[in-house]
C-alpha cells in the first residue's frame, strides 16, 4: 500500500515535470467533409484554435463523408484521434453503448457557454442522461420551390395539405412536375416520409416509430402512407428518381420542369451553382396535414465527439469548448450556410433561407434528427428501401410494411 502510494506520488510529480518541461502537447482532430465550403470553414476554425492555443500541436485530418461512416469504427477502436465528427441521436447509440465515446457531461456542466446556450439541442446530444458530444452546426429541412413558377401560375405558398394538392393540380395542368427528388441513395425519400409522418401524426409518433415502439403496420403509419399515396398521385415526383442522386435531381428543378424539392438547407448552394438566383427560389415549411398538430421539424445536427481512447483529453475538451463559442459558431455557419446550435451566435441575416430556417426551427414544437439518424442504421436501411419501393409502386405497400415489421422485430431486440 505504502509502496503504491509512493509510486503514485512519484508518477504525479513526474507528470507535472513532464508537462512543464514538454511545452507542446498534441491534439488530433478527424473531420469528415471535403466539400469546398465545409472544408474551408473547418480549416478556418482550426486555424483560429491554433492561434488561441499556440502551445498545442494540432493535427487536423479531413476525409470523405461516406468513407468516414465506415472508417470511424476502426478509428474508435484502434487508432483514436482526440476529436472526431459523428452524428448525434440514435446514430451515436452503438458507439456510446460500447463505451467508445467519452462521457463529457462534466464539460457540459462546467462550461458556462455549453450549459446555458445549447438547451434546444441538448436532448439530442444526450443518451442515458449523459452528454456525449458538442454540435457545431444544424440545418432546417422543408420545401424549396421555384418562386418564378409559382408567380407565373399565380400560386401562393401552401399552408395546408389541400392547398398543396390544389397547387399541384395547377402545376400538372401547366405541364410542370410538382416535385423533384433523387432516390438512388435512398435517404431523400426518408425526408418526404418524415415530413408526412410528422404532419400526419406528430413528433411523438415519429420518435416512437424510430425507437421501435410502433409497428409499421400500425394504423397511424398506414395513414401516413395513405397521404403519401395521395401525394404520389396528385403531386407526382419526377419519374426517373430511382436513378438519380439528390444532386442529379436538381437538373429538372433548375430547368423549370419541376417546381418543388423537399430538401435540407445544405442544398441551396447547389441550386445557385445550377444557375438559379435568390429571386427564383424560395422556401416554405411543409404544410399542415392534421389540423392543430404541434409543428415539429427535421433539423439534423453535426457534432464533435471525444473517443474514449483519446490520448489528449484536456486539449480535446478545450477544442470542444472553443467550437461551442458564439463567435466560432457564427463564423463557421455563415461560411457553410447553416444554422449555429449556440443560441447566442449570430446568423447571416443576408441569407433569406437562414433567416427563415431560424424562424422555422426556433418556433418548432420538436426537432427530429432525420429518419436515418433517429432509427438504428439497420432499420433505416430497410425502411428507406421500403420507401423507395413504395414510391415506385404504391401497390406493394402491404408487402413493404410487413417486411419492415419483420426487420423491426429483429433490429430492436
Amino acid at each position: 500500500m505504502k509502496f503504491k502510494l509512493n509510486f503514485s506520488i512519484a508518477s504525479i510529480a513526474a507528470a507535472a515535470l513532464m508537462s512543464t518541461s514538454a511545452m507542446a502537447s498534441d491534439l488530433i482532430i478527424t473531420f469528415d467533409d471535403l466539400n469546398p465550403d465545409k472544408k474551408a470553414a473547418y480549416d478556418a476554425a482550426v486555424e483560429a484554435f491554433k492561434k488561441a492555443n499556440p502551445d498545442i500541436n494540432v493535427t487536423a485530418n479531413n476525409g470523405d463523408r461516406e468513407a468516414h461512416k465506415g472508417s470511424i469504427r476502426n478509428a474508435l477502436q484502434n487508432d483514436s484521434p482526440d476529436v472526431i465528427t459523428w452524428y448525434p441521436g440514435n446514430r451515436m447509440g452503438p458507439f456510446v453503448d460500447a463505451g467508445l465515446f467519452m462521457d463529457i457531461s462534466d464539460l457540459w456542466a462546467s462550461d458556462e457557454n455549453l450549459a446555458s446556450n445549447f438547451n434546444a439541442i441538448k436532448p439530442t446530444m444526450t443518451r442515458d442522461g449523459k452528454q456525449w458530444g458538442v454540435p457545431y452546426s444544424y440545418y432546417q429541412w422543408g420545401v424549396y420551390y421555384r418562386k418564378d413558377i409559382y408567380d407565373k401560375l399565380s400560386l401562393s405558398e401552401p399552408k395546408t395539405w389541400d392547398e398543396l394538392l390544389s397547387n399541384c393540380d395547377v402545376m400538372k395542368e401547366a405541364g410542370v412536375t410538382p416535385f423533384t427528388i433523387g432516390t438512388k441513395f435512398l435517404w431523400t425519400a426518408a425526408g418526404v416520409f418524415d415530413y408526412l409522418n410528422l404532419r400526419t401524426n406528430g413528433y411523438d409518433v415519429h420518435n416512437d416509430l424510430t425507437a421501435g415502439k410502433i409497428k409499421y403496420t400500425d394504423d397511424r403509419i398506414r395513414a401516413t402512407f395513405a397521404n403519401w399515396e395521395v401525394m404520389l398521385d396528385r403531386c407526382s415526383f419526377v419519374s426517373t428518381h430511382a436513378t438519380m442522386s439528390w444532386q442529379d435531381a436538381i437538373a429538372p428543378f433548375a430547368n423549370g420542369d419541376a417546381a418543388m424539392y423537399v430538401m435540407g438547407n445544405f442544398s441551396v448552394g447547389q441550386y445557385k451553382d445550377a444557375g438559379l438566383t435568390d429571386e427564383q427560389i424560395d422556401f416554405f415549411q411543409f404544410p399542415e396535414i392534421t389540423a392543430g398538430l404541434p409543428r415539429a421539424e427535421e433539423a439534423p445536427a453535426d457534432a464533435f465527439f471525444i473517443p474514449a481512447k483519446a490520448k489528449n483529453v484536456e486539449n480535446a475538451k478545450k477544442f470542444l469548448s472553443f467550437i461551442a463559442t458564439a463567435e466560432v459558431q457564427s463564423e463557421w455557419n455563415k461560411a457553410i450556410g447553416q444554422l449555429p446550435p449556440n443560441a447566442e451566435a449570430e446568423i447571416n441575416t443576408d441569407d433569406k433561407f437562414i433567416v427563415e430556417g431560424m424562424e422555422t426551427l426556433s418556433t418548432a414544437a420538436g426537432l427530429a434528427q432525420f429518419y436515418d439518424r433517429d432509427a438504428p442504421a439497420a432499420m433505416a436501411k430497410e425502411g428507406m428501401q421500403g420507401f423507395q419501393r413504395f414510391m415506385l409502386d404504391p401497390s406493394t405497400l402491404d408487402e413493404v410494411l410487413e417486411n419492415l415489421d419483420k426487420v423491426q422485430a429483429e433490429v430492436y431486440k
Binding site: 498534441d26 500541436n57 458507439f95 401547366a174 419519374s239
Partner: protein, 395 residues
C-alpha cells in the same frame, strides 16, 4: 587422421556457432518486436508528436520481423536434422511464409466468419477490447430463410452465373473472326481487347451514364423515335417522350440484366483473348488433314478446331465463373444493390448488411457469407478435383 578430425570438429564448431548466433538473433528480434512501440520510438528519436512516430515504428517492426524470419531459417538450416532430411524439409520452408499468410488472411477468417454467423454483433469491441456480441445459435439462418432480399440476391447470383456464360461463345466467335491475317489486324485485336484493360469501376460508370434515362446514350437514341423537344413554362427547352425512355437501373425487372450486360463487355474481351492464344497453338497438320477429308465450316469447327481448344475453353469457363462471382464492383458502382435491393447479389448483400453505411449486422452478414461460401465450395471442389485428375493423368 588428425587433420581429418580437426576439419570435422571445425565444421562442427562453425555449424554450432552459426546455429547459436542465429538463435540469439532470433530471440533478440522477437524480444525487440514485443518491446517496440510508437511511444518508445517517439522517445528514442525525439518526435514531437506520437502520430509522427508511427511510420518509423512500422519500418522498425517490419525489419525486425524480416530479421527474425531470416534468423529462423539460418537456425533451421544449420541443424543436423535438417541436413539429413533436406529434400523433405526444404520445400516446406519455401512454402512456410506463404502458408502462414494464407492461414492468417484466408483460412482463419473463414472460420471466424462462420463462427460470427451464430451471433448477433454490431461489429464493435468495447473500450477494453471485449467483444460486444451475443450467441444466438441458428437464429440468423432462420432469418435468412424468411428474408425476401436473400432470395432475390440468390436468384440474381444464379442469373449472373448463367448469363455471364454467354461471354464464352461470344468470345469464341469474335476470336474466330479476328483470327485472320489482314492488314492491321493487330489494331482490331487490341481494340476488341481494350475493355478488359479498363477497370470494372470505370466500365460500371460508363454504362451507368449510357443507361441514364435523362441524358444517357440509350435515351438519346430513344428520343430519335419517341420524343419531341418542347419549351416548358419557364421558356427552357425540355424533352417530352411517349413512351418514356426505359430507366434500366431504376427498374427492378431490368436492373440486374443491365449490370450483367455491362459486365459482359470486358468479360467477352477476356474470353476472346484466351481463344486467340488457343487458336495460335492449333496444329496446322490437323486442319490440313481435316481439309483433305472434306471438312469445312461448322464441321471443321466442331470436330477439328474445338477439341484442340478444350484447354482454352476450360480456362474461359473458370474465369467467367469467377468473374460472375466477382460482380460486386459493378453492382457497387452502378446501383448499390438498388432499386430497393432488387439488383443485390449475395456478396453485395453481405457487405451491405455488415459493413456498408454502418448498418452493422455482422452476425447476419456472416451468415450470408457462409451460405455464399458453401455455394462456392461446390464449384471450388469440382475445380480442385478436376485439377487433381489432370495431375494424375500427367503422371
Amino acid at each position: 587422421m588428425t587433420s581429418n578430425t580437426t576439419v570435422l570438429t571445425d565444421r562442427f564448431a562453425t555449424a554450432t556457432g552459426r546455429a547459436i548466433a542465429a538463435g540469439v538473433v532470433l530471440v533478440l528480434c522477437v524480444a525487440a518486436l514485443m518491446f517496440v512501440s510508437t511511444d518508445l520510438v517517439q522517445e528514442l528519436f525525439g518526435y514531437s508528436q506520437n502520430i509522427k512516430a508511427r511510420e518509423p515504428t512500422f519500418f522498425i517492426r517490419i525489419s525486425l520481423l524480416i530479421g527474425a524470419i531470416a534468423a529462423a531459417f539460418f537456425l533451421i538450416t544449420s541443424l543436423s536434422y535438417y541436413k539429413r532430411n533436406k529434400v523433405a524439409i526444404a520445400p516446406w520452408m519455401f512454402l512456410s511464409i506463404g502458408l502462414v499468410f494464407f492461414m492468417i488472411y484466408v483460412i482463419v477468417p473463414i472460420f471466424q466468419s462462420i463462427s460470427y454467423s451464430f451471433t448477433r454483433w454490431n461489429g464493435l469491441y468495447d473500450i477494453n477490447g471485449i467483444w460486444t456480441g451475443e450467441w444466438v445459435g441458428l437464429h440468423n439462418y432462420k432469418l435468412l430463410l424468411n428474408d425476401p432480399n436473400f432470395y432475390t440476391s440468390l436468384w440474381n447470383n444464379l442469373l449472373w452465373l448463367l448469363l455471364f456464360m454467354l461471354a464464352v461463345p461470344i468470345g469464341l466467335f469474335i476470336a474466330l473472326f479476328l483470327n485472320q491475317t489482314v492488314r492491321g489486324i493487330r489494331i482490331y485485336k487490341s481494340l476488341f481487347f481494350f475493355p478488359f484493360v479498363i477497370s470494372q469501376v470505370v466500365v460500371g460508370l460508363i454504362f451507368t451514364w449510357a443507361y441514364n434515362p435523362e441524358f444517357g446514350l440509350l435515351s438519346e437514341i430513344w428520343s430519335w423515335f419517341f420524343c419531341e423537344t418542347k419549351t416548358n413554362i419557364m421558356g427552357n427547352l425540355t424533352r417530352v417522350c411517349s413512351p418514356e425512355p426505359p430507366s434500366i437501373l431504376g427498374d427492378e425487372t431490368m436492373a440486374t440484366y443491365g449490370i450483367i450486360a455491362a459486365g459482359l463487355w470486358p468479360q467477352i474481351a477476356y474470353c476472346m483473348i484466351l481463344y486467340l492464344t488457343g487458336l495460335n497453338n492449333i496444329s496446322s497438320d490437323q486442319i490440313e488433314a481435316g481439309r483433305l477429308d472434306g471438312a469445312k465450316g461448322w464441321k471443321m469447327l466442331r470436330h477439328v478446331v474445338l477439341p484442340q481448344l478444350k484447354p482454352a475453353t476450360f480456362i474461359a469457363i473458370v474465369v467467367t465463373v469467377i468473374g460472375a462471382l466477382r460482380s460486386f464492383d459493378m453492382i457497387a458502382t452502378m446501383t448499390q444493390g438498388g432499386p430497393y435491393g432488387s439488383s443485390n447479389v449475395l456478396a453485395y448483400y453481405m457487405y451491405d448488411q455488415a459493413v456498408g453505411e454502418g448498418v452493422g449486422r455482422y452476425g447476419y452478414g456472416s451468415a450470408i457469407a457462409t451460405v455464399l461460401f458453401l455455394i462456392m465450395l461446390v464449384y471450388i471442389s469440382y475445380f480442385l478435383w478436376r485439377m487433381y485428375q489432370d495431375e494424375m493423368e500427367a503422371r
